[in-house]
Symmetry: C2
Subunit: 339 residues, 2 copies
């Protein structure tokens, strides 16, 4: 059984999830070597996972049977459990929450040997569609304040299973990092009456030194102060606070830009592992502050090239050995014309 | 030339230090394998490093010659440079500082094959003495607001050179993570008129389930909400805000507890890589808020067992698969009686 515990000094929650110590590990001891398929996420192995909660599948195919393109199942070794009742406990300097939440795995393809960047734009659009639909569904559970979707690609980026998948975690508190962004963006909005992310979009359209690629609806660039070499942010050009509000047509533009970036990253960074993270506004709840005007959803792609070490843990600052403008030039050069 | 850049949304500075991409790497491609000595940090190789700024050495031995036990040199591939003049630049959403600062390497032993935990308590006391003296020295440079000292042990903890060493970075801003702790501790102090760390010391003296080891002056325990499996905090029992104010005799008590913990970690965690981080109060500067009453210096030891992945990057929260009380029990059991 999991438990959320709060650090008594700073506003940081930690999920103590000892069942996860049992989870299987697909990679070799030296990192990125892969085991051959089939694995439990493969087509034909559906009965080896918890029962699916959502899927995109052909007509006349049955749940938990082959015939799907994207499939969502609860995590077998969850950090949090949906059936756990909500409980809050304060005992002196110790504050805890029961581990109630959702932890789902979004299997991106039935094929053991494909990565997200190998999929067609249409297939990636289906993955993005699933992200949106799961978020819309979990919003209805009023225990949850926030839903994070992320992808760990490769062992050194934290993946334990090689078969292409993303993860979703819905939690009863607004995460520290999200709160920092919400407050930073809100402060800017109070001062200037403008969304800071809209201003960042405009800035990059006028200054192309860190721009990588854009299309009608999205823009990808290396941020001004990236923590990691070749860090990339993807922003919708139009102001939208919630990823959940993204329209179908926009999802395909998002997928087009994702595909181009993944192809460029593979070529530029020698197939580096990476994390992909979706940052969106917390679920709207009665009596809670709204960030509709000031916050703007976006994605971060973080290649795993440098190691986080004592300096970063001690300061919350980062040392990045690659000049952001140089990183953007490399990534821009390797964006394919056609995909 | 380095540059500090501030993220426009949140209060996080990043050091863009492209010279560091040139630094040598002592470990094999698969991680922890080591190259045999001698290396540039070994006794007899003093002329291969930048000139020493401090050392503990025998009488009648000369600077930059053999005969030392602990030696401090500027980092050859510094994140920041002491000779860089201070400059601050704001251009719309982009804010930067010149890369002025100190980046030093504290070589803990002349012996290529010893680790910090292999050294005698007296020798570790010398290392702690050097930490304190360098901090006292750098306080005099009024460009600096904060000095962080940390140690990365092992390749997966971010070390690039195997020879036992710590690092010191003095910077012109108070780091984000430090500010969070200062503010959290100050809030507690305003509410209760007590130091939260003093209360944590008292809590652990009354509740031994996460205690590991203590002596007359220090206490080591697994914190209530640790980010990482087997994370350890070391606190002085007496309220002291600045590590710089630690007295000689206390340094030897600190070293005794460090030695015991390092021996236990080695045995408990199969020689896991780790980060050691010294958290202290910012330098006292005229016109700046003081945290003398509310903040309490301490050390964090973070074994590198789990990987930081998408969830952690996206939320600032952590998933820890080991129950803190279980971790403490293992570490406690392996504390040696005699050292």
């Amino acid at each position: 059984m999991s438990e959320l515990r709060k650090d008594p000094v700073i506003d940081r929650w930690v999920i103590i999830a000892n069942e996860r110590s049992l989870k299987p590990y697909d990679f070799g001891v030296h990192g990125e070597l892969r085991k051959p398929g089939p694995c439990v996420f493969c087509e034909g192995m559906e009965t080896h996972t918890p029962k699916e909660v959502f899927s995109i599948r052909g007509n006349h195919t049955e749940k938990n049977q082959p015939g799907w393109t994207v499939r969502v199942v609860p995590n077998k070794f969850p950090a949090l459990r949906i059936e756990e009742p909500f409980a809050h406990c304060v005992d002196g300097i110790c504050e805890s929450l029961s581990g109630s939440g959702a932890h789902e795995v979004i299997i991106e393809t039935p094929d053991h040997y494909l990565e997200l960047g190998d999929l067609s734009v249409d297939h990636i659009t289906e993955v993005m569609y699933v992200y949106r639909e799961r978020m819309r569904n979990l919003e209805k559970d009023h225990r949850f304040r926030y839903c994070i979707i992320f992808k760990n690609q490769g062992a050194s980026a934290g993946a334990s299973i090689q078969h292409a998948h993303s993860q979703l975690i819905a939690i009863p508190v607004i995460p520290k990092r999200v709160k920092e962004e919400l407050l930073g963006a809100d402060k800017y909005y109070q001062e200037k009456n403008r969304c800071i992310f809209c201003d960042i979009v405009q800035y990059h359209q006028n200054n192309n030194q860190r721009m990588i690629v854009e299309n009608d609806h999205f823009l990808a660039f290396v941020p001004y102060a990236p923590r990691f070499p070749y860090e990339i942010w993807i922003l919708p050009k139009k102001h939208v606070s919630h990823f959940m509000k993204t329209e179908d047509q926009e999802l395909s533009y998002l997928s087009e830009i994702l595909k181009k970036l993944l192809v460029s990253m593979k070529k530029s960074l020698n197939d580096s592992p990476y994390n992909l993270i979706l940052h969106t506004t917390p679920f709207e709840r009665k009596g809670e502050k709204s960030y509709l005007e000031s916050y703007h959803w976006h994605m971060e792609m973080l290649p795993t090239i440098t190691k986080v070490a004592g300096f970063e843990w001690g300061t919350g600052f980062y040392i990045n050995p690659v000049i952001p403008e140089d990183a953007a030039e490399v990534l821009r050069k390797n964006i394919p014309d056609k995909i």
